[in-house]
Symmetry: C2
Subunit: 103 residues, 2 copies
């Protein structure tokens, strides 16, 4: 199980609100990709304007398949030009799950 | 939904292996705490010796309840003295989930 992080920092509050709205009204295309397991959109509780997009995948190949897709590219085009200029490219990180447990 | 991160960096490979084993043979006490949702033990795929412990909780109060418990303290005492000296205190981060989706 692979976990992909995109850390997005938005200092402008209006752009932050636009970003939150865009994430709440997502197209949901990612859910239909092979190997997709889970999606979470979060904010860092300790640092204002720090957002995190997290997706879980069966394998690294599945993650790559999504990242190189038209669906992934099109999600970015939904934001305003101003928002895209403010947001910039996210910092990306990949984790590998070694052990897990659920309630 | 609240997500708690502990980032643990271990440069010593033998201590890293001990840490992985300790996490694989966990007591599993965390699963029985009120508000517990999920646990994942991971390694950063891009940086050797970077581990991440992630837990999901219904609320911040539930997280606090676990962190202040005897069960949480006792997990640390399972590591060797050498391991505890090398590992040191983890960097901690808390996220708040705004939206989520599952396959």
């Amino acid at each position: 199980l692979i976990v992909a992080y995109s850390y997005v920092r938005i200092d402008d509050e209006a752009v932050g609100a636009e970003f939150e709205n865009a994430m709440r009204s997502r197209s949901g295309l990612v859910e239909s990709f092979p190997g997709f397991q889970r999606f979470e959109f979060r904010r860092d509780a300790g640092r204002r304007g720090h957002y995190v997009i997290v997706t879980w995948w069966d394998s690294r190949a599945d993650l790559r398949g999504y990242l190189s897709s038209e669906a992934h590219r099109s999600t970015h085009s939904k934001l305003s030009e101003r928002a895209r200029a403010v947001i910039g490219p996210p910092r990306v990180e990949v984790h590998e799950v070694l052990t897990s447990a659920t309630a």
